[in-house]
Amino acid sequence: MSAPVQAAAAVPARSPWAAMALAWAVPGLGHYYLGRRRTAIAFFLIVTAAFLAGVSFQGRLYTIEPGQPLTILATFAVYGAGLLNIAARLLSESPVGMILAPTYEYGCAYLLTAGLMNLLLILDAHDIARGRKS
């Protein structure tokens, strides 16, 4: 048996769906579940920092609005941040942000980026669990 095959056999099988669910709930948790612990911690710090920066910059936690089709995409992106997004909505005094704040636009960009980064992590965790990525 060659070395890569032996290494693959030594790694316990992990459920792709569990990896994706964990990755959505907490940034990096899917990678932690798959054994990539140092990378997982780094991903957690990066995505969480981006999301918290977005909240502190008084960005908007989007919700779908009638007549505003782009809010569908924005809401999908922000919900990609998982429990961070839900916690922020529950704890925030103004989930719609402060449109008059000088940092409002930056805050929106940070929040959307954090959610999109976590969506990429979900797909990455899926690929790793399926063996499509080394």
Binding site: S56, T103, T113
Partner: protein, 62 residues
Amino acid sequence: MISLIPTDHFLIMTLYAFLVSAFFALLWRQDRRERWKLFGMLMASLVLGGLAVAWLMYPFPR
């Protein structure tokens, strides 16, 4: 708390570039050296690109 929030555009842009560059360097590369290389390229591209766009927009303030 409010006083801790930076309002400097360049600082906010640089922080954004740092986070995005670190994220994609970790996501797209496995080797440590390759990660640093991609991080540097992305960071430089985002910051210098932002400055270039700002410079091009300077004659059009509104």
